[in-house]
């Protein structure tokens, strides 16, 4: 079984690091009355887990799966699909003694503004039969009318201490030996994304039961496409055109998003064999370009701009 599911929190008590949020939501669930909810925060810190727990606790027993509709805004093509699916789902009454069904819409910030307006109408139309839980990485990408219809909860990244406990818990159940520096290695290479941490752990366990810092780093670097570093080196040699072709290929073949690439470029920069002052400049450019990407621009064009700056002597 995938550990990300095996060790996914099953009760409110299992969810770590979001105590205040959990407390408030738990109270709502106990009253069997929840408003529309909006969960925001980075990946892998418990947004989906909390939504699933809400469903479990709300519809105690077997019915919880039938009463929950899970949608992913970045996968469903277009708001029409979402709307129709929601319509079909919300048409019938919830099973059991809760008067409404639950609709969990993940990555809702990937919807366009238009789609968000359509979603807002849908939310209004089905309020009697269904409650929405929206989750997103950046709440600011959602339009105001959606904010105003939801209770908003900002999830915080997990503390190192919480992660340590979690990793040790898994290690104990799976019979793994955790060496020194492993927790830090996990924490540093994932920015606290617990899903990624668990995947890395399970990857390591496929290789050995004796998990050391080195095992972690070898798994992390094996999972990382090597090409990015080569693309950077190619760029620094002044071969911009071939570098960008390579980049296009890598993005297509590994399914990388622009943000994936830029994060990795940022990591690789430090180990390049160039003057440290130049590295400093490059990091600054890197940050600026990431900012522009988040503003919603063309990722590949922004990456080209980045490489073009780097290739300047």
């Amino acid at each position: 079984m995938l550990w990300t599911e095996k060790y996914r929190p099953k009760t409110f008590g299992d969810i770590k690091g979001q105590d205040k949020i959990v407390e408030r939501i738990k109270a709502m669930v106990e009253n069997k009355n929840i408003p529309h909810l909006l969960f925001s925060g980075p990946a892998g810190i418990g947004k989906t887990s909390l939504a699933l727990v809400v469903a479990r606790e709300l519809y105690k027993g077997e019915n919880w799966r039938e009463n929950l509709l899970e949608l992913n805004a970045s996968d469903e093509r277009g708001i029409d699909v979402i709307r129709n699916t929601i319509k079909d789902f919300a048409r019938t009454k919830a099973l059991g003694n809760v008067p409404f069904k639950l609709i969990y819409l993940d990555e809702s910030d990937s919807l366009t503004k238009e789609a968000q307006h359509a979603l807002r109408r849908t939310m209004e139309n089905f309020t009697n039969n269904a409650r929405f839980i929206l989750s997103c990485n950046y709440a600011s990408k959602l339009i105001d009318p959606i904010h105003s219809r939801c209770s908003v909860f900002h999830f915080k990244p997990l503390l190192r201490k919480d992660i340590e406990n979690y990793v040790k818990f898994i290690a104990k159940s799976e019979g793994l030996k955790i060496g020194e520096g492993v927790i830090d290695a996990l924490y540093n290479s994932t920015e606290g994304d617990v899903r990624r941490i668990v995947n890395i752990l399970q990857s390591c366990s496929a290789l050995t039961n004796n998990i050391t810092e080195e095992v972690i780093y070898s798994v992390v670097s094996a999972a990382r496409p090597k090409e990015i570093k080569m693309i950077l080196e190619e760029t620094l040699k002044g071969n911009f055109i071939s570098a960008r072709e390579r980049l296009l290929e890598v993005m297509l073949q590994h399914g990388l998003s622009g943000l994936d690439v830029i994060k990795q470029i940022q990591k690789e920069l430090i180990s390049l064999k160039i003057d440290d002052r130049k590295k400093m400049d490059m990091i600054e450019v890197c940050g600026e370009i990431e900012f522009r990407m988040v503003e919603g621009s063309d990722e590949f064009l922004q990456l080209q701009a980045l490489l073009a700056r780097f290739s300047r002597p």
Binding site: T112, A222, I241, G258, S297
Partner: protein, 409 residues
């Protein structure tokens, strides 16, 4: 042989749809004319330069010509035209001076426009100038010294008439309706109409409906080429702005973003042409890409806020790309379209990705994440699959085998 050459009018009476008489009179009565030059303006392919050539031949003038492919600084102009203007030619020939595309004088042609004003005020021989666009600021300089004569787009009927004539001479089978839509797509540019006709029928001697439909794409790349040339060769941001405003393709792709920016909907946008060609044409393309990048932020804002006025900033950034080129860059310009064009990439994308997405979809549903997110975790699943067979998730034998091979460790 090019039909545009073959069927070029040789006599004045063959020139369709323009005020040939006025040009003729201007040349013949030059000494009595109030203005010292005649400025013919209008879209390309309406016969502006042609008329000067034909008149020179028909009336027996020696044609002195300067066009935009020549260098046109003050000293160059004086070198070429100075002698012609100040003294009669050796055998007493009459001369006609043609200065093509005066609106495309670049700032590299230093002092060029001033020199022209000087030349025409002192000229003893008739001067004809041509321009596409007289509404830009630097054309003000001619305001009091030239006579303007507008050349309009060739009418649909005249274009059709000419095409019919060529068809019968070349023995081309055609349907009237098809020929008419060919005439229409030329947009009043005879050169385009004739070369399209040749392109479509030279081998088959027949004009087919599907051929005409293939034309749109071709015509448009011609226009894009014009703008690329202007951006890459000149520093005339005002002119470029104007041309971008009149471009018949979008500046940027404002359609709904695809799943990834490396695969997108519409490649026929100026931005994609710029991105592809910049590093091939500019030696210092870092600054140019910086402008592209900034313009693209506005693209994001347009899509995000549906506030289309930001497009004007995109246009301005693109125009300014002409300013950040190095000195003396003279490289050939091709009109190649972006490498990440949909056709190429959809193929690659779907080949490489069918399996990946298949696996990612299944894992995604199982673990409450998007397929996109599952893809980024794929390398870990690959390592995990050494010990765990993913059967409960529903992966097939084949998929598991593929997954196992994906990462070496």
């Amino acid at each position: 042989m090019l039909w545009t050459e073959k069927y070029k009018p040789l006599r004045l009476k063959d020139i369709k749809g323009q005020d040939t008489e006025r040009v003729c009179n201007f040349v013949l009565n030059y000494n009595r004319e109030k203005y010292r030059a005649l400025l013919l303006y209008g879209p390309t392919g309406t016969g502006k330069s042609l008329i000067a050539n034909v008149i020179a031949k028909e009336l027996g003038y020696e044609l002195k010509e300067i066009n935009s492919s020549d260098s046109r600084s003050k000293s160059d102009l004086e070198l070429v035209l100075g002698n012609a203007i100040n003294q009669g030619s050796l055998f007493g020939n009459k001369k006609l001076i043609l200065i093509d595309d005066v609106d495309a004088f670049s700032s590299g042609d230093r002092g060029g426009l001033k020199a022209i004003v000087e030349i025409i005020t002192n000229s003893k021989f008739p001067v004809i100038m041509t321009a596409n666009n007289i509404e830009i600021e630097k054309m003000e300089i001619f305001k009091r010294v030239v006579e303007y004569l507008e050349f309009e787009e060739i009418s649909l009927m005249d274009t059709l008439e000419l095409l019919k004539e060529i068809c019968s001479k070349e023995k081309i089978k055609y349907d009237e309706r098809e020929l008419k839509s060919l005439a229409r797509t030329s947009g009043g540019d005879l050169r385009v109409a004739i070369s399209d006709l040749q392109l479509l029928t030279e081998n088959t001697r027949e004009l087919k409906k599907e051929d005409i439909e293939s034309l749109d794409a071709r015509n448009f790349s011609g226009k894009v080429e014009d703008i690329l040339v202007k951006i890459f060769r000149t520093r005339e941001i005002e002119l470029i702005q104007h041309d971008i405003d009149n471009l018949n393709i979008p500046l940027i792709d404002l359609t709904k973003p695809s799943i990834s920016s490396v695969v997108f909907n519409n490649e026929k946008c100026l931005s994609y042409y710029l991105e592809e060609n910049l590093p091939k044409v500019y030696s210092n393309f870092g600054d140019a890409f910086e402008l592209m990048s900034k313009a693209d932020v506005f693209r994001g804002r347009i899509i995000g806020n549906q506030y289309y006025r930001y497009l004007t900033y995109v246009r301005d950034f693109y125009s300014c790309i002409s300013l950040v080129k190095g000195e003396n860059e003279k490289v050939g310009i091709s009109c190649s379209v972006t490498r990440r064009s949909p056709k190429k990439n959809f193929k690659l994308w779907s080949l490489v990705n069918r399996r990946r997405w298949g696996v990612a979809d299944k894992v995604a549903i199982h673990s409450h994440i998007s397929a996109w997110r599952a893809l980024t975790e794929l390398p870990y699943y690959s390592i995990i699959s050494r010990k765990y067979d993913f059967k409960e998730i529903g992966l097939t034998e084949e998929e598991i085998e593929w997954l196992r091979k994906k990462v070496n460790i």
